[in-house]
């Protein structure tokens, strides 16, 4: 495996891990449910996506051959993250989970 590819893999892995961590930090530190919702839905999705890409490249350079399952993982993650977020937000709005004080606008309660 040439060094360049190794660098790319390493960079993707680190990027992915950092994004994952940042998403988690967001989940841990952001002030209310609705702001926390942003962390996982993107940072984590992107983070895992980067790692999946790294994995794909890694195995493409291994003797046992390529695979594209990683792409499918990404597809499913991207496909499912929005409805998950939607459903959770709906639940939170329904339960009247308090929003942080400086939020403008109102959630619905439908």
């Amino acid at each position: 495996m040439n060094l360049f590819i190794e660098y790319i893999i390493a960079a993707l892995l680190l990027l992915g891990a950092v994004f994952t961590l940042v998403g988690a930090i967001g989940l841990a530190v952001l002030p209310d449910f609705f702001t926390r919702l942003h962390g996982p839905t993107k940072a984590t999705t992107v983070g895992v996506g980067a790692m999946a890409l790294a994995s794909m490249i890694w195995f493409a350079n291994q003797p046992m051959g390529t695979g594209f399952v990683e792409i499918l993982i990404m597809v499913f993650l991207l496909l499912t993250a929005p409805p998950s977020a939607n459903m959770m937000a709906k639940a939170a709005m329904h339960m009247e989970v308090p929003k942080v004080g400086n939020t403008r606008g109102d959630p619905w309660g439908q």
Partner: protein, 162 residues
């Protein structure tokens, strides 16, 4: 009778066929045969689960849109990451987004796009499919968000579905 042998949803069949080639780790004789069988059989089994299909769907516009969204996801993710790490408190806002799209599939794609692109999450779709409720993580005004979404995503979608 012949109708049953056709591909009821050709785009889906194509998609499934491609997915199978991905899953089967490369295109080969066996994977093509099995892929074809599945690409034919699965839509047959599931077509009744898609009762209302969009009247117009310009599928060729989809890849471009997806690339756009993907790019936005990557770029904007950094913004959110920065926002999370930075000590500044975000200024969140609930925004009602007036929809111009009316096809439910298109609305779902738009809502998903909004959710995936950093800084906004679709919190809800109104029952009459006229308004999206968006939660923006950090924005000054509602208008800039509405504007951005409308121009960047809703317009291409309207072209695709109308």
């Amino acid at each position: 009778m012949l109708g049953r042998l056709s591909f009821p949803q050709p785009w889906l069949s194509l998609l499934l066929f491609s997915i199978w080639q991905l899953l089967a780790d490369g295109v080969g004789g066996g994977s093509v045969v099995v892929g074809l069988i599945l690409a034919w059989g699965i839509p047959q089994l599931t077509q009744s689960f898609w009762p209302e299909r969009p009247a117009v769907f310009k599928a060729w516009r989809l890849p471009g849109y997806l690339l756009l969204v993907l790019w936005d996801i990557v770029i904007a993710s950094f913004e959110v990451a920065w926002l999370i790490i930075s000590p500044r408190r975000p200024e969140p806002m609930f925004i009602s987004y007036p929809l111009q799209l009316d096809c439910p599939q298109a609305i779902a794609i738009l809502a998903s796009t909004i959710s995936l692109t950093p800084g906004t999450v679709t919190a809800d779709i109104s029952d009459d499919h006229k308004i999206l409720l968006i939660h923006a993580l950090d924005t000054r005004t509602a208008e800039e968000v509405i504007e951005a979404i409308h121009n960047r995503y809703e317009k291409p979608l309207m072209e695709m579905f109308q």
